[in-house]
């Protein structure tokens, strides 16, 4: 693919000496010699191993927890329950004022998804911690659970998360994020064709080769050094500070080296409880997810459902688009209210449509809490939008690429969420794609520009 001189000639700087030049990566020498220090490569004398007792139920009340047998297990040093966590109810995005706090570090009275952390066991060896965890007795009263977003939104559905009070995230705009632009019903009324389709996806696990975890060492100066593979260093530090009610100056986070993340390591899950364990025992603590935990416990990409209704003219113009998006947060918010909101901003795609109506819902179910993953909030939406574009082109008997040229946004166009389009390059990308893929389009599309009135 080529960056042709003709593209954006007025603003092009062609003194980009670094572009196209190979430069060695600064981290590669460590990788090829095995010297790169990942968090789990830190080992400290007397280090304890943390294992979690997890909920076997999707939704249940905890009647009682009995740790007495586990405490007697050889090698066990400390067992933690909800009452040991200074500020047990938290939510990651509280740092940017997106509440309410809705998730427990260790379950308190209730579990809301299968795999939820209930009791933390710290022992001299990984094996002892695992064996002792199996001896913790939790008495559950199983509650009805809901796994489907549309079922969860129906009246009378089991309430997943009491901190929200209803099975959706309440935005300042109400039960969903809303975008209103033009008059979508008038657009449909005047359209030659209407096409309504629904698209849905399942959760997707990032499956990094290095599992989630951290190693915490108490220092002589009353501080704690946390070696972690988080992708969100300062989110994690600040949330740990809140959860532990400990000033951030007591916490020294060391990271940045991540054995594969893909967005799966931006939640704050392992660090606060490991630091608490180190604080209460005075010993280094290692908390590393097993492969099974990485696949079953760590947040996946959210399941999504997207319903798109379009009004299109025979000449190829889309005149109205209505999108309803549902993001399955699972039992807790984590990053999903933000993901669903991103979806609202992202629709109706890189197209200029005069009449747009968008509702995006962040829905709570008793599934594994979902969170960030590569373009979360827009990736599944893009899949739905582009499949819809192909279907619309077919409906009116038009080439799918030419159909996109007709509707492509261009500089100066007002987007549905009231941001004027700037720096668009979709037309130029499609021109180059047309050549690269040998997918010919009419000459008039090859002479178009993202500048509406010519460069």
């Amino acid at each position: 693919m080529e960056l042709r001189k003709s593209y954006f000639a007025d603003v092009r700087k062609d003194d980009l000496h670094e572009i196209g030049q190979p430069r060695p990566r600064s981290d590669s020498p460590g990788h090829v010699t095995g010297k790169t220090a990942y968090f789990a490569d830190r080992n400290f004398p007397g280090m304890l191993h943390l294992k979690m007792v997890r909920s076997p139920h999707h939704h249940a009340r905890i009647r009682s927890i009995d740790t007495s047998e586990a405490e007697k297990h050889p090698g066990v040093v400390k067992i933690l329950t909800a009452k040991d966590v200074p500020h047990n109810v938290y939510t990651i995005l509280i740092l940017i004022q997106i509440g309410p706090e809705d998730e427990t570090v260790l379950a308190d009275g209730k579990v809301r998804w299968k795999g939820e952390a209930v009791v933390a066991v710290l022992a001299e060896t990984e094996r002892a911690a695992q064996e002792a965890a199996a001896k913790v007795k939790v008495d559950y009263e199983v509650l009805p659970a809901v796994f489907d977003m549309e079922e969860a939104l129906k009246p009378g559905a089991p309430l997943v998360n009491e901190y929200h009070g209803q099975n959706y995230y309440l935005y300042d705009s109400g039960e969903c994020r809303k975008v209103r632009f033009g008059d979508v019903e008038a657009g449909f009324a005047g359209a030659d064709h209407i096409l309504e389709q629904s698209y849905q996806s399942s959760p997707i696990e990032h499956a990094p080769t290095e599992t989630t975890g951290c190693v915490v060492a108490p220092e002589g100066n009353d501080r704690f050094t946390c070696y972690t593979n988080t992708q969100a260093m300062f989110f994690t530090l600040d949330n740990a500070s809140i959860i532990l009610q400990m000033p951030g100056s007591k916490l020294h986070f060391v990271g940045g080296t991540v054995g594969g993340g893909f967005g799966g390591k931006v939640d704050v899950i392992v660090e606060p409880i490991a630091i608490l364990g180190a604080k209460l025992t005075g010993r280094p603590v290692s908390f590393i997810y097993s492969r099974e935990e990485e696949m079953q416990i760590s947040s996946p990409r959210a399941a999504e459902k997207v319903v798109i209704k379009d009004g299109v003219m025979k000449d190829g113009r889309i005149v109205a688009r209505k999108v309803t998006g549902y993001t399955d947060a699972g039992a807790y918010s984590r990053h999903s209210p933000y993901g669903a909101q991103k979806g609202a901003g992202h629709y109706p795609g890189p197209y200029t449509i005069p009449n747009v109506w968008i509702d995006t819902y962040c829905v709570y179910t008793n599934r594994t809490p979902s969170s960030a993953m590569r373009g979360f909030g827009v990736t599944i939406g893009d899949f739905a939008l582009e499949v819809q574009m192909d279907k619309l082109a077919r409906l009116i008997g038009m080439d799918p690429l030419e159909f996109r040229f007709i509707n492509a946004y261009r500089d100066g166009d007002m987007k549905a969420h009231r941001q004027p389009t700037e720096g668009a390059a979709l037309i130029e990308c499609m021109q180059e794609a047309s050549r690269a893929a040998n997918w010919p389009v009419a000459e008039k599309y090859l002479t178009m520009s993202s500048y509406k009135n010519g460069a």
Partner: protein, 160 residues
Amino acid sequence: MAKVPVQFTLNGSEKAEFIDSGTTLLNALRDKIGDTSPKGGCHQGTCGACSVIIDGELRLSCLTLAETCNGTSIITTSGLAEAGVLHPLQRAFLDTFATQCGFCTPGMIMAAKVLLDHTPNPSREDVVEALSGNICRCTGYEPIIQAVLTAARSNSQNAA
């Protein structure tokens, strides 16, 4: 728990340790001896990140009990460079941008070394087959394959 003595050669040095019976070679190398170049990705023999070379053969150290390695000679990626000079495979991985997160890299290099030790001039298919037990979740397989082929070429040039 009763301790078991183990003794083997690691990258040319004699090592002796007392370990808990049942300790994997991966844990013995990482936690007891301090060679953290083999990585634990799955601990069930499916990802290849823990690959090491035992008596010339590629082995998964997460499925190998340390006590079965008595008297063997073990090679890991941390022992490949000689006097600070990178092994041709390490050089090739650098030059062809065959690392991303780097977590699979030591295992990949071990698998590639065993291939080149047995098959100095491999075909692309040979390389793909040899690396088929090693997962790169960053999915940077193409540069890794190119790195192994590049190393093979530089070896044969040096030999000529």
